[in-house]
Symmetry: C2
Subunit: 325 residues, 2 copies
């Protein structure tokens, strides 16, 4: 008997009922299969790294997940998304962003690309991003929608708020946004993302958003110079996060942010965004192109630009500066 065909369905039942126990009888009836098939499939799940707790007379409870991304769990999570239609899950790629850009040529629907390992992960300014397998979430989310060019300027602001909220909810850590779009905990970076776009000059058609989040790294996983600048949710709070639950929440949150982005202006979320910002009331160095300014951020404008006041009192406007914290 090939149990792989029941795996997805049983996993779905166990995952959605993971706060309780489900009896073998209940599962068998719900799926109209034999109790033997249920039992064998649960053995298969265990072999594949799922932890299923079984208690006589109560039944089964899903209590743990494989260390590596599991294709069926991914299918289950994307099935719940009302926006993303397909997922591509890899053991190793150069970067999810590159894979997404290739897929883009063939696929019309919104999709996500996830990889256990990226051998050449890249952030803004072409900076490398250390993408250790199983400890983080390395994902590219591809949005397909006609968006007026001038609206795009606020996309990263909506998205960074969504990511910061997810991190707060899932870890309890006080995630902050370093304008425009890095996420910090305790002044150390735990998430970066890179949004790329393509389309017509006045109307963007594709948004390709690569997100890297350090989830379960130990502090000792960050080597040398990274150690003072990087953190993970676990390193910051002492508690690991469940990658699947995190991904599920993140997708819900970024879908919601995308829909907000389509109908709202940045000014509508400016106050909330401001409360998540970690750059207020401190002197920082801002670099945009060849402009370097040391100063204090005084305001984010309605269009998302940041206003920084230097020591002489001169105001500088930034669209997308690199800020050293």
């Amino acid at each position: 008997m090939n149990m792989a065909k029941y795996k997805g369905d049983i996993l779905e039942l166990l995952y959605h009922n993971r706060s309780t126990y489900l009896s073998g009888q209940t599962i068998a009836e719900r799926l109209a299969i034999s109790r033997t098939a249920v039992w064998k499939t649960i053995e298969l799940l265990k072999q594949q790294g799922f932890r299923v707790h079984s208690v006589q007379n109560k039944g089964y409870q899903l209590t743990g997940f494989p260390e590596e991304w599991d294709q069926d769990m991914m299918a289950l999570i994307i099935k719940q998304s009302s926006y993303f239609k397909r997922r591509f899950v890899y053991k190793e790629v150069t970067s999810t962003q590159l894979v997404a850009k290739e897929k883009l040529l063939e696929i019309d629907e919104p999709f996500i690309v996830i990889s256990e390992v990226q051998t050449a992960g890249r952030g803004r300014f072409n900076r490398s991003w250390d993408s250790q397998g199983t400890k983080g979430l390395w994902m590219t989310a591809v949005f397909r929608r006609d968006v007026p060019l001038q609206k795009m300027m606020s996309f990263n602001l909506f998205l960074s708020l969504a990511i910061a909220k997810t991190i707060r909810r899932m870890s309890g850590a006080e995630a902050k946004i370093k304008w425009p779009n890095d996420i910090y905990i305790d002044d150390r970076k735990c998430c970066g993302f890179l949004t790329e776009i393509s389309g017509e000059a006045a109307l963007i058609q594709n948004i390709i958003c690569g997100i890297g989040i350090n989830l379960n790294h130990e502090a000792s996983d960050f080597q040398q110079d990274l150690a003072v600048k990087a953190t993970s949710l676990k390193a910051a709070t002492g508690h690991p996060v469940n990658r699947y639950q995190f991904l599920e929440e993140l997708l819900i949150e970024i879908e919601a942010a995308f829909r907000q982005f389509l109908v709202l202006d940045f000014k509508d979320i400016k106050d909330e965004y401001g409360q998540y910002s970690n750059i207020w009331q401190r002197k920082l160095r801002y670099t945009e192109g060849t402009t370097v300014v040391e100063g204090v951020a005084v305001e984010i404008l309605d269009d998302g630009r940041l206003v920084v006041q230097d020591e002489k009192g001169t105001l500088h406007h930034f669209m997308s500066a690199d800020i050293e914290i």
Copy 2:
């Protein structure tokens, strides 16, 4: 003797001195080759469709070009460009825009793609564009440069002005711009273009600009419903244009416009743009997304948006409307 190797050099001398005659002796000396090689190469040029007029005791003059795009002439024209570094010339492609997007993945430099025929030429709103071989110019110009997203909104305005100017200079026809970026002569369209972009959300890296211009079509070349809406430089003026000279001038003009675009704002060219516009003082129908307005254009704003007043006096702002003329 293989004369093909001298073709480019002799062509270059003849092309740059085409207002006069060059003796075989002069050509031979300038290129340090034999007079026999000069004579044989000129025979080759003639075989390939160039017209070279020769007069005893005066020498040679280039007076005509092959009907189809010639690779060596193209090399010569791109060699004069200070911006575009490479060219790709095809007999037939689906569209130069598609080819350019493929090349983009491998090539870092600015380049142009030209084809004699496009089997699936497309304009804005995915409208087909009839691309008859040898009668027009079907080209995609790829610009490579980091450009802040908010600057991109004016790109088409700078470019359309460059194209309109080239058409006026090369044909004498009073080319006008139908905002934002079609070129008309006598209320008939002779040129359309489509700008696509890709890059980061705040910083565009690639501008892929597809331009189609009807040059030497006869009025009778436009079938049925197109006949009342389309024209060519020749149909409008009665005179054919030299495709190579036109291309040379066009490249110079769009390079200049691109450099202007990088350092100026639209408001700096707004007055000149306004003088080229054919939409003033007439009631037209404007469609942008689901918005349809009948009204009269009253102003172009500094950021390139068009202000249209409807019959009730209400003002509407358009970023990139489709206008029926």
